[in-house]
Amino acid sequence: MDVKFEIWMIISVVVLFLTGLTALCMGQFNVPIDQVISILFGRGSTLKNAATVIWQVRMPRILFSMLAGAGLAAAGAAFQSLFSNPLATPDTLGTANGASFGAALGILLGISYVGIQLSAMFFGILAVILVFIVTKRSSGQNKGPIIMVILAGLVISSLFSSLVTLTKFVADPNNILPAITFWLMGSFSSISYKSLQMGTPFIIVGLIVLYLLRYRMNAMSLSSDEAKSLGVNLPLIRGLIIFSSAAITASVVAICGVIGWLGLLIPHIARMLFGNDNRRVIPASIVFGAEFMLLTDTIARCASNTEIPVSILTAIIGAPVFIILLRKTGGIRI
C-alpha cells in the first residue's frame, strides 16, 4: 500500500533475523557464528555441547521472546484503538495483573500448566471487562475520557496486585512462595520446548486475529456511535480484541511473568514512523515488538554473570517514555 512502509518492513524482518542469529551465538558459552550456522543446517559442531545449547536452550528462548514481544506489542496497539486511548495497554488496564493473579492462584492451588494458563486468561479478561464496566457507568458513554480509563485501570490493576500479595501471604514460604515470587519477576530463563507448546498456540491465534482485524481497529478508535455508523459490529469486534489480547497477555504472563511497558512503547514508535493507520501500526508493532523483546532478553542474559529479570530492563526504558507520552497527550478529550 505504500512503498516506504514495505521497505521498512522488509529491512526490519531482515534485521530481526540477523539479531536472532547473533543472539544464538551470545551467552555465557560463546559459540562462533560459523559453528551456529553449521549447527542450524544439521551438520553439527566441533565444539562440545554446542548443539545442545543452541537447540535446547537458546532456540526455544529466542523464539518465545520474539513471539511474546510481537504479541504484547500487537495487544497494546489493539487496546489503544479499542479504548481510543494512547495510554491503554494490557498492563495499564490491569489485564497483566489480573492474569498474574490467575497464574499465582494456579501455582498456589498446584494445578497443571494448562490450568494455570486458563486461570491467567480468565482473570486477565475479567480485568478488562471490569475496566469497561467502571468507565461505562461513570460517563454514560461507551468510552470514558482518557483519564477515567487510566484511573479505572489503575484501580483494577492494584486490586489484582493486592490479590497477588494475598496469594503470596497464604502460600507455603518454603517452596510455593519462592516459585510465585521468581516467576512474577519475569524471566525467559526457564523456557523449554514443553512450555513453548503450552503457550504459543494462544499467542499465535491471538496474533492472527489481531492482524486480521487491523483495518477494523481504525473505525474502533473513533467514538462508538461513529464506529457503529461505519457498519462496525461493535460487540463482536470488542469481544474479539479483548479475547485475543487477553489470551496473548495471559500466555506470556503464565510462562514468564509480567513484562511491562512493551505494549505501550512499541505501538507508539510504530505510530511515530508510519502514522496511525492500523494497517501499518499492527504489522509494524509485531515486527518491532519481536525485535525489542529479543534485544532486551539477550542483554538481560548476557550483560552480567547473573541474569537480570527482563521486566526490570523494559521498565527502565518504558517508564520515562510513558511520562513523556502522558505529558504530550494528557490534554486530549475524546
Binding site: S84, P86, G231, N233, N276, D277
Partner: protein, 267 residues
C-alpha cells in the same frame, strides 16, 4: 430513500418525556431540518433515528421496511451519519478517514480494495476537499474537518445523510460551503438529507420540510414554509421573533430576528 418515523416516543427516565408521538417523513432528494430549543431532544431524535438509542415506542421505516428487520450492515450502506467534527484521538490522514466510509461494505477481516480507494477519492472530490487528502486530520480547521466527515459519509454511497449540527461553530464562509453542498447533493444526487440546526435561517434556506421540537416533547412537522412562522417559533423558543425578508438581486432571503424575551420572563 424513503424514511419514516411514526408515533416516535422516547424518554430517558419514565416521567421525563423527551419525544412524544413524533412524526417525520423523508422522501428521495428531500432536505429535512430539525429545529428546536436546547434540550428539546434534537440530538436524541437523531440517535433514535439511527438506532444508537431505541424509541420506547413507535416505528422507523426505511424504504417501507421496519428498521428492526434490516441488517445493520445493510442499513449503514443506505444511511450515513455525519457527526459533529471533533478531534480524533489518533489523527488519521484525510484520505484514511474518508476511506473508513467504505467499512460498511467490508467483511470482518477484509481490507479496502483499489476500488474502495477510488470511491473514496470521488467522495473527496464531491465534497471539494481532495486537495487535503494527504493532510493529517489534526491539522484541519473545524470547517475542513466537517467537510471531511461529509466526504466520509459520501464514500459509503448512501441514499440518506443524517447530519448532527453540520454548521455549528463554523464561520460564514464554511457555513455557506456546507449548506451549498447539502443543496447540491439533494438536487443533483437525489440524496435525502436530515440535519438538525440551531440556525432557523439555514433551515429556511435549504430545507423542504421542517420538524420543530417543543420543550414539552411535542413536535410540529410540515413544509418549511408552513412551520417556520413567527408564531410557531415564538412558541418553540419562548422568544419574540420577527422574520425579515429582503430582496437581493431578485432572490428572496429571510432573516430571523429574536427581538426579546417574552413579557413575563423579562428581568
Amino acid at each position: 430513500m424513503k424514511f419514516e418515523v411514526q408515533h416516535g416516543c422516547f424518554s430517558y427516565q419514565k416521567e421525563d418525556i423527551v419525544l412524544r408521538n413524533m412524526f417525520l417523513h423523508v422522501d428521495e432528494g428531500q432536505v429535512i431540518s430539525i429545529l428546536g430549543p436546547n434540550g428539546s431532544g434534537k440530538t436524541t431524535l437523531l440517535k433514535c433515528m439511527l438506532g444508537f438509542l431505541k424509541f420506547s415506542s413507535g416505528t422507523v421505516l426505511c424504504n417501507g421496511i421496519d428498521q428492526k428487520e434490516t441488517k445493520q450492515s445493510e442499513f449503514w450502506q443506505k444511511v450515513a451519519y455525519v457527526p459533529q467534527a471533533r478531534i480524533q484521538t489518533f489523527p488519521y490522514l484525510v484520505k484514511e478517514t474518508v476511506l473508513m466510509g467504505r467499512s460498511a461494505y467490508l467483511n470482518l477481516f477484509q481490507m479496502p480494495s483499489e476500488k474502495d480507494q477510488e470511491i473514496a477519492e470521488a467522495a473527496m472530490k464531491q465534497a471539494g476537499i481532495f486537495y487535503l487528502a494527504e493532510k493529517s486530520c489534526a491539522e484541519l480547521s473545524g470547517g475542513e474537518m466537517q467537510l471531511v466527515l461529509i466526504a466520509r459519509a459520501l464514500a459509503s454511497q448512501p441514499e440518506m445523510l443524517v447530519m448532527d449540527e453540520p454548521e455549528t461553530g463554523l464561520d460564514f464562509r464554511n457555513q455557506l460551503l456546507v449548506l451549498n453542498l447539502i443543496k447540491k447533493l439533494s438536487k443533483e444526487e437525489n440524496l435525502s438529507v436530515v440535519f438538525n440546526t440551531h440556525y432557523p435561517e439555514h433551515a429556511l434556506e435549504v430545507s423542504d420540510y421542517t420538524l420543530m421540537l417543543m420543550k414539552n416533547g411535542g413536535s410540529l412537522f410540515g413544509t418549511t414554509k408552513d412551520i417556520m412562522t413567527e408564531k410557531n417559533m415564538q412558541a418553540a423558543f419562548g422568544v419574540k421573533i420577527k422574520i425579515i425578508e429582503e430582496n437581493i438581486d431578485g432572490v428572496k432571503y429571510a432573516s430571523i430576528l429574536p427581538v426579546s424575551l417574552l413579557e413575563d420572563e423579562k428581568v
